[in-house]
């Protein structure tokens, strides 16, 4: 009997190719074997017909979302650092610190600006040092030309020629912070002290140089 039941399993495994007909005949002739065969076949058929399961619709998408990111190149990381969006976390202490820093910086800048000529701006020299743009004016309606010479240009009389505007001569000089002395030269011969200078200093030759203080 045990051998007969083993034959049933051989049939179910597809292993009884040469003896298939003989085994089937044997099963049909024996009611007990037939019952065994029918019951086992029903169980196998149930497995084959009902066994398969369909995964959720988004299964593949879900797996793909969880895949690790491929190794990113240095250029890619830099690009993401510079242009990638990010969420900044903050709290009230940080916000207040930023506000305080902004206020202090603004006050300091305003304070420095008050030291400059109202017409001044602050470009930078090639060395990176900040400079003030200082505008000098001199009223001489009858002059043919006016230049300014001072310690900022080694007292050269031909390097900084002023421009006439309705009888008033002007020039704008980029100057680093410091103290400068200067004079105007009218018609290439007459040295004239700036009548609107804040202070003056003797030049040792009987004249007074105008004194200009530049601060940023």
């Amino acid at each position: 009997m045990k051998k007969d039941i083993t034959n049933i399993h051989r049939l179910l495994d597809g292993d009884a190719a040469g003896e298939k007909e003989a085994i089937i005949r044997q099963i049909q002739d024996d009611p007990v074997l037939r019952k065994e065969f029918d019951d086992l076949s029903a169980a196998v058929e149930l497995l084959e017909q009902e066994g398969r399961m369909q995964p959720p619709l988004a299964f593949t998408a879900s797996v793909m979302r969880k895949l690790p990111s491929p190794a990113e190149s240095l250029a890619g990381r830099l690009k993401r650092f510079l242009f990638g969006s990010r969420v900044l976390r903050w709290n009230m202490a940080a916000a207040l610190a930023i506000v305080l820093l902004t206020v202090v910086t603004t006050i300091l800048m305003m304070k420095q600006l008050t030291h400059l000529d109202p017409n001044s701006v602050s470009p930078a020299f090639p060395s990176g040092e900040q400079a003030a743009m200082v505008r000098l004016t001199f009223v001489a309606p009858d002059a043919r030309n006016v230049a300014v010479a001072g310690n900022f240009n080694k007292w050269r009389t031909d390097s900084h020629v002023m421009t006439r505007e309705n009888g008033t001569w002007t020039i704008t000089l980029p100057l680093k912070p410091g103290v400068y002395t200067y004079m105007f030269i009218v018609d290439n011969k007459q040295w004239v002290t700036d009548p609107h200078a804040e202070t003056y200093r003797d030049d040792g030759f009987g004249y007074q140089n105008a004194v200009l203080k530049v601060a940023i």
């Binding site: 083993t6 399993h9 179910l12 495994d13 292993d15 029918d38 019951d39 086992l40 029903a42 169980a43 196998v44 149930l46 497995l47 084959e48 009902e50 066994g51 398969r52 399961m53 369909q54 995964p55 959720p56 299964f59 593949t60 879900s62 797996v63 793909m64 969880k66 895949l67 690790p68 491929p70 190794a71």
Partner: protein, 186 residues
């Protein structure tokens, strides 16, 4: 699987190994039913099976650079799914003991109709599978649901074909008993 699909699969896996992760979607799409079915029938719980099947695909992807085409990808994936299922089952609950199996054999003829209304046949099938020892369940799933031959099953489980046939024989007998008890089969 025919040779054309095998060649195609070889190329896809090579692309994945070269860093083209998008190509892996083709593999997942192709074997999702296999992985999900095996996990579902092994564990009897759809949600856990979904997690285990997805974890198996991720593990396969992580290990893909070591895959040398010595076996079919589907066999390799199936072995990963089964390993994860065994780990999960070990941490969850024991399977039916030998004494319980003997009791089922004895009682199945005494109460053939008691659980005739146990529910859908699919539910009854899963309950019956849940009652099988793990090694019997593995063989029946691969043999009669995935319809693999014993040579392929032997590669997946690392068990000889002769031993697999014994497990299938005993597994079918026990499955029949459990199904009879539930009233699904006569």
């Amino acid at each position: 699987m025919d040779a054309l699909v095998q060649d195609d699969e070889h190329d896809i896996i090579k692309r994945c190994q070269d860093g083209d992760s998008d190509s892996y979607a083709v593999i997942v799409d192709r074997y999702q039913t296999l992985a999900y079915t095996v996990a579902c029938r092994m564990l009897g719980d759809a949600e856990t099976a979904n997690d285990i099947a997805q974890e198996s695909f991720l593990a396969a992807y992580e290990g893909l650079r070591h895959f040398r085409f010595g076996s079919k990808f589907s066999s390799w994936l199936t072995s990963i799914v089964l390993n994860k299922c065994r780990d999960h089952l070990r941490s969850r609950r024991p399977t039916v003991g030998i004494d319980e199996i003997a009791e089922i054999r004895e009682t199945r003829r005494r109460n053939p109709e008691q659980e005739a209304s146990a529910g859908e046949s699919a539910d009854a099938l899963q309950k019956a599978l849940d009652g099988l020892p793990t090694d019997y369940r593995e063989v029946l799933i691969l043999k009669h649901i995935e319809e693999l031959d014993y040579k392929s099953i032997s590669e997946i489980l690392g068990v000889s074909v002769a031993a697999l046939k014994v497990r299938a024989h005993r597994g079918r007998e026990l499955l029949r008993a459990l199904l009879e008890r539930s009233g699904v089969t006569p």
